[in-house]
Amino acid sequence: MSKSNSARKRWLISQAELEIWLDGLAQARTLIAPRQVSGIMLYRPVAKSNEIAWHGQTPRSAHAGRPVLSVKEIFFPPTERLFTIQKTGQEIRLEETFPDWETVVFGVRPCDARGVKLLDALFLDTNPVDSFYARRRGNTTLIGLACQELGPTCFCTSVGGAPDNAHDMDIMLYETDGSYLAEAVTEKGRFLIPVCEWKETTASPQQSTYSGQFPVPEKGKWPEHFNDEYWLKISERCLSCRACAYVCPTCRCFAVRDEMLAPGQFERIRCWDACAGENYRRVAGGHQPRAEKGERLRNRFFCKFFYYPEQYGLGAASACTGCGRCIEVCPAGVDITEVLMDLEKQA
């Protein structure tokens, strides 16, 4: 779908033009954008562009402009109803509840867009296709905003990304001195652009000059470290909460359960779950194959850099986008970059 860099059409627009456009988008569709909610920044629906936290810095975090949760929650919400079950007498009726509203997400960071792409590998590109995810994904257009700089915990450049990478967006915006260079990356994105009103330009965004901050161990190196003592040691401070997984753009485990709504009425829901949890892998009979938190934390890293890429054919890419959220939220100071550097040193 995406054209090569040089063939992409570009427009130069002012802040005012951008806001008028976003206001228009918000009228016909659901517009989701970074917004301040009780002191933290989240991707939330906005009715007008003036609700958007443009360059918002949260009071408690020095991190510039990155919402606490990734855009994952838009495609794969914390809790989703799959269908309802109605039992009347002998008759049982199942009713699916598909989400089918059109959504535009504005202000997507390149690391988050990369995360969505990685989720596609599991939910869309592997059979069976997840129809709920597919529906949301198909109805959603991603409008990216290039990061001006790397935040204190960012390391996207080390895992193959860049703060101005347009690759996984539908439309990409580059901010330059109060105006924006808009780039249509996909057909779906171009469809939303008011081509008659905007001024087309031949200018191209500045070439990215970022290079990796540190080397990441190759995929093939991981299995030999499976039985290392290191995992028990590094995990000692881990509290086995799930904050790292829930803020992660690519952690996608879920649990499914039927719950009663009223007598004779049930719903099947799926909600986020994470391998850090103490009962995540417990099986019938009570056995827990990952009883030690070192085993659970190891799974998190292996999943990002070995299992997931191996299983879903990502090639040399990892399932980590380098957004750094897990580093920021960990109450005990577990740091994924430290783990990567330690492993690289041992290799």
């Binding site: 009780s38 408690r60 401070r237 904050a243 909600c271 949890g277 109450p331 005990a332 100071g333």
Partner: protein, 444 residues
């Protein structure tokens, strides 16, 4: 229109249920709104049952038991008498109208009393109209952003960290070299310059230990697992570095038999407050008056009195709001929760092997990450910490979504202190709400 409230009444099988029967036999009129649930004892009515009733749409909950002193199980109703008022205070704090929940005592012969209490309660609930506690899926939208009053910024006082660091390292080395302890849990500075928990097993590793203004983690959280017997074997003694607030957690865990006193060597460090990361004192430290650990084997630092400016009383501010606004406030907070359980995992008191709110067979709470479930989890957790929370505030610090969870704990700590004169962890005594009543109890 005649509004008929749905009222759930938990009736003790021995007294109140029979009392309701007595009312029926004597043909005394009682309201038909009461759905009676027969329980073996009012002590059986756990807070989860009451919350579940409201979560399922009850307009009011009535709990009736035997008079104090007449319990069939001697002290079952003591538990009801102690803990249900605490739950009542908590649910009011979360925005429930106080009239919707009532605890009273009715004996088997008091048919008339049953009828009077049931009628009065029903009328009170009827006057309030339908309850708004239960939230329909997608049925809540933030009306307006409810923000707490801003916190006062108090600059960090200058601290002697180098001296304390040296003392901690020296003690840790001594303990590890002599083999008295197998591990010292302290603080280190990570590669990003962040202070975090550290586990030292040898004298060399003890050189990593530090003391600085950012030593926020409550390291006592690691003790229950670290000191758990493996089979018949007791693990080696562990030394732990504690601040005064953390030291109170040691006392609570000792009272609850999580480990024994001789299993742990407490390195207590005097504390003048911990930084919030931006050079200011953490809000909890602004109101803290304890600067010397209440339990320790080794004391580091000179005990000194430090007077901080008072803090903005956020609990008072919330309590002054009308119930409806208070409920809005809490819903807007819980709405952000993602049920990651960071609060619970960081808490030294939350050490159940399987959390009641995470059991596969839990009938109190669903699996969903919805508003009802999140509220039930947070209120239930706050209730379970009543009389046990030492105010270390790790729950709130660990929260990735900045939810002011500690307000619930502060509210209940105040309630417990007012009712029982108890502050958690000052001595090795369990929470007063798990023990029986002492002294004379006055009904009403």
């Amino acid at each position: 229109m005649n509004y008929e409230p749905r009222i759930i009444a938990f009736l003790c099988s021995w007294c109140s249920y029979t009392g309701a029967d007595t009312a029926g036999i004597a043909r005394i009129k009682s309201p038909a709104n009461i759905r009676a649930i027969r329980v073996p004892c009012s002590g059986r009515v756990s807070p989860e049952l009451v919350m579940r009733a409201f979560d399922q749409g009850a307009d009011g909950v009535l709990v009736l038991g035997c008079h104090i002193g007449e319990c069939h199980y001697d002290t079952g109703n003591h538990r009801a008498a102690k803990r249900l008022p605490i739950l009542h205070a908590l649910m009011q704090f979360a925005g429930l109208e106080p009239e919707r929940f009532h605890l009273d005592w009715v004996s088997a012969s008091e048919g008339e009393r049953f009828s009077r209490i049931a009628t009065e309660f029903t009328e009170a609930v009827q006057a309030l109209g339908p309850v708004s506690w239960r939230v329909a899926p997608g049925g809540w939208q933030a009306a307006a952003e409810s923000l707490l009053p801003p916190e006062k910024e108090v600059p960090m006082p200058a601290l002697d960290c180098a001296g304390k660091t040296d003392a901690i390292r020296a003690k840790a080395k001594e303990l590890l070299t002599s083999g008295e302890v197998g591990c010292v849990i302290g603080y280190e500075v990570g590669p990003r310059g962040r202070t975090r928990p550290a586990f030292a097993y040898s004298a060399e590793e003890a050189d990593r230990l530090v003391w600085n203004p950012d030593v926020s983690n409550n390291l006592v959280s690691y003790l229950p697992v670290k000191l758990k017997p493996k089979g018949k074997e007791l693990p080696k003694k562990v030394a732990v570095v504690v601040k005064p607030c953390d030291s109170r957690a040691v006392n609570v865990l000792l009272a609850e038999n999580q480990f024994t006193r001789d299993q742990v060597h407490v390195i207590g460090v005097t504390c003048e407050g911990v930084s919030d990361g931006d050079g200011s004192l953490q809000v909890r430290c602004q109101a803290c008056s304890e600067h010397t650990p209440v339990v320790c084997d080794t004391l580091v630092g000179e005990p000194q009195a430090v007077v901080h400016a008072g803090t903005v009383a956020r609990v008072d501010w919330l309590e002054k709001l009308p119930p409806r606004e208070r409920m809005e406030f809490w819903l807007s907070q819980f709405d952000r929760c993602i049920r990651c359980y960071a609060c619970r995992q960081a808490c030294p008191m939350c050490n159940c092997p399987v959390c009641l709110y995470e059991r596969d067979d839990s009938t109190f709470i669903g699996l969903g990450i919805g508003l009802n479930e999140k509220r039930t989890f947070h209120l239930g957790r706050a209730y379970h910490l009543a009389g046990r929370c030492v105010g270390c505030n790790e729950c709130e610090r660990a929260c990735p979504m900045d939810i002011p969870i500690s307000l619930l704990n502060q509210k209940l700590a105040g309630e417990i202190e007012k009712t029982f004169g108890h502050r958690a962890g000052l001595a090795v005594v369990p929470s007063p709400i798990v023990t029986v009543l002492s002294g004379e109890y006055k009904e009403g």
